[in-house]
Symmetry: C2
Subunit: 454 residues, 2 copies
């Protein structure tokens, strides 16, 4: 039993999986769920669906709603944050502006730290405000941060506030695609995955207890070419095919460990991304998740899901459990809460401050690692050293990018925003990049940011 | 009194200052100086000049020569390394090759880590061999490393061997030019300078005990433009005018501390260096030390100095003290030896492992800092935090470059050599850069390196 507040409950996909998992997790029955969103329409819809799902599954949950954030935080034991401030529209507009300056797909083209617009300002500001509100209202509650950028956001919160923050993502499940493609049944496979959020690597890969990397090597040598010509790869959705794409295989060859999930789009080398044609060569016919093709497929999927939810909302007689069977969704948020609240030991893939788990990463940088969760809290499982080339060419540069974003944000440092872009291989000159930064900050949705970055 | 071995004594400039300072430093009289070089001609010349200078100054020194390195190390208390393996010719040839691939002035164009050819291989290999020989022959001797790359070299030796290594450079003396330009007499000025070798910054600047940065700011605001139009700036030698160039002033504005000495060429932003015209805008009419103009001026100066030494060598009646007056040269090597050997406390600017002196830099990375030297050894004077933007955009990237060079060297990792170049803003494609690396390693002077990097 716990008081669980979902901030940004209007995020359809997340809320759906949260409600579903809560209704399935009997050990959490009796809990109070507070759905909070600033959109009343979205809130009504989610509330309606949640109550109906609860009834269908006969789950014992108290479900409340509010548009007042501080009210939502009162008495909370767990706060789930799924907020995307301002939606995707500003990001798309900023992308168009940046393309005029020679940045194909915009300066946040691989969405590694761009959520929340230029410099991630809107999201980071929101995260910090929320955590500060929690310090006032529910200082002992756990903040489960699933909104992006998880890496920057959780590192910021853990450094700047006293709130216990945990980042949760599902990207690590990409390993299932590897097992599937290799024809290994999931029950026989175990993995260890570590890194930063959206920059995680398979440090161990076991099949029936034995190292399965040789099986992967064999697949690369003998079957990859055929797979890349198959319907499955050529017709698949970008977020499904990236895992076994030429990009993933080449990253493995360059850096020594297989990249998992969003890693393949977010931290792949710049030279995979110079234009659509090149992207297609590395990621398949869609050009990957972040190409103009891949991203529009994603946006259409999002709309479709929203419409489906709206249809279900309107048709109050539709049985929801047919659409969403009452089994665990695979997301880790509710298992995490269950594990802490009910002291049930579980091994989950979470984002927490490093504290010695990965060698060579400072203690106050959040890493994504396997953890043991229980009533004692969240404890990292030791990883140790990553391959040197991976550290020097991916991990440290990605960490440096995070530090630059946080420094620019904390110090309101416009110079830093310009300098950051100067390291982009597409940058042509200081003057041009300076002008781009000025133009971005002059947009109406960036008034507050323009005031912040001086 | 000490046994001092100079390895690479054929380096005319260094040897001259060493001999001169030794003859002036009476507390070191009675010492044995062993001049070692593989070139017998150079060795004869230096030996002749040293003996004559000793006679003229009536210094009590025992001067010996050898072409055998291990012989030179026997009984040594101090080993001075000034070796440049293979001279400058291969570097110039490699530059030409790289220019064909679109790298204006070559891939080591700012000479920050390039000494010793591609990946600094020849120098690093020599340094390590020398330190290993010392472990066998004179394990308690101090290695005074003044050959470049000092940053990579001293970090490598201090990590890989048990030899006490100290890096010595004179670049920090650039602050004298600042004082001179501002019209401040040197006796009234004191400074604190810190960073990595060829990447040092004036962390304090005092005039008569008070902060003199405001005087510098005033000069920038009111007098810089006029200075940049003066004969002194427009006709000056590049290594003399860089210190107060538009480049130095802009770096100060970007990063918050004034850059000192070689820093201005070595770690200035890439966009100062895209072509000769741009270099001229930032560094003055020569385009700075590393432009085609500046570098050829430097090479001519070197030749001229060598010819002068050869003339003095031939004319055995020429009084050397007229050319080189018997006063301290300003180099720190002999004062350092004097301080340790005779337990005379001195404050010197040296390169030693960080061990907490500069915040945010690992203990095993060599930093250039003010130190207290005495019979106790060399102890860093605490610096603390550098400005954040300086750390994130200059110090950490420079450190990362060092780590990449050392990793490539230690692991003989050709992939890393390619990846390193992929981060160069001039790089066009992976294929092209890969081909460049292959072509460089195929050169006759790189046979050993090609075998090393696999």
């Amino acid at each position: 039993m716990a008081n669980i507040s979902i901030i940004g409950a209007g995020s359809v996909v997340f809320s759906t999986s949260f409600i579903r998992d809560l209704c399935v997790t009997k050990s959490l029955w009796g809990s109070k769920i507070t759905l909070m969103d600033i959109s009343k329409d979205r809130l009504s819809m989610i509330h309606n669906l949640a109550v109906r799902y609860k009834k269908e599954t006969k789950a014992d949950l108290k479900i409340e709603t509010t548009t007042n954030r501080r009210e939502a935080l009162e008495d909370a034991d767990f706060v789930l944050c799924t907020v995307k401030v301002g939606g995707y529209q500003p990001m798309e507009m900023e992308r168009k502006i940046a393309e005029r300056y020679g940045y194909y797909r915009g300066i946040g083209d691989r969405v590694c730290d761009y959520y929340g617009g230029f410099g991630a300002y809107h999201q980071l500001k929101f995260f910090l405000d929320l955590a500060r509100d929690m310090e006032d209202t529910c200082p002992d509650a756990w903040l489960i941060e699933t909104a992006n950028p998880v890496f920057e956001g959780t590192t910021l919160i853990s450094r700047e506030t006293r709130i216990k923050v945990i980042g949760v993502c599902h990207g690590h499940l990409g390993y299932e695609k590897i097992a599937e493609t290799l024809g290994l049944s999931l029950e026989d496979v175990s993995v260890e995955i570590a890194g930063f959020n959206h920059c995680v690597w398979m440090t161990r890969f076991l099949y029936r207890g034995r190292n399965a990397y040789p099986l992967l090597d064999e697949w690369i040598e003998k079957k990859a070419e055929k797979y890349w010509k198959s319907e499955e790869f050529l017709k698949g959705l970008p977020w499904e095919t990236e895992q076994m794409s030429p990009a993933a295989v080449d990253m493995y060859k360059q850096f020594g460990l297989f990249p998992i999930g969003d890693t393949i789009r977010s931290v792949s080398p710049w030279w995979y991304h110079v234009d659509l044609e090149t992207k297609k060569r590395w990621f398949g016919p869609t050009g990957g998740f972040d190409s103009e093709i891949g991203w529009s497929i994603y946006l259409k999927h999002r709309e479709k899901r929203l419409r489906k939810m709206q249809d279900l909302y309107k048709d109050s007689s539709a049985p929801l459990t047919r659409e969403f069977p009452p089994v665990m969704s695979g997301e880790q948020h509710i298992p995490l809460i269950d594990s802490i609240a009910n002291d049930r030991e579980a091994i989950l893939q979470l984002n927490i401050p490093n504290r010695g788990v990965i060698s060579g990463i400072p203690d106050d940088v959040v890493v994504e690692i396997p953890t043991v969760v229980s009533g004692r809290g969240v404890q990292g499982i030791h990883i140790g050293e990553l391959p040197k080339r991976l550290m020097l060419y991916v991990m440290i540069p990605r960490m440096l990018r995070m530090e630059r974003i946080l420094q620019a944000f904390k110090d309101g440092d416009r110079k830093s925003l310009v300098l950051m872009l100067m390291d982009d291989p597409r940058t042509e000159s200081y003057e041009k990049t300076y002008a781009l930064v000025e133009e971005l900050l002059a947009q109406p949705w960036n008034t507050e940011a323009a005031d912040h970055y001086r």
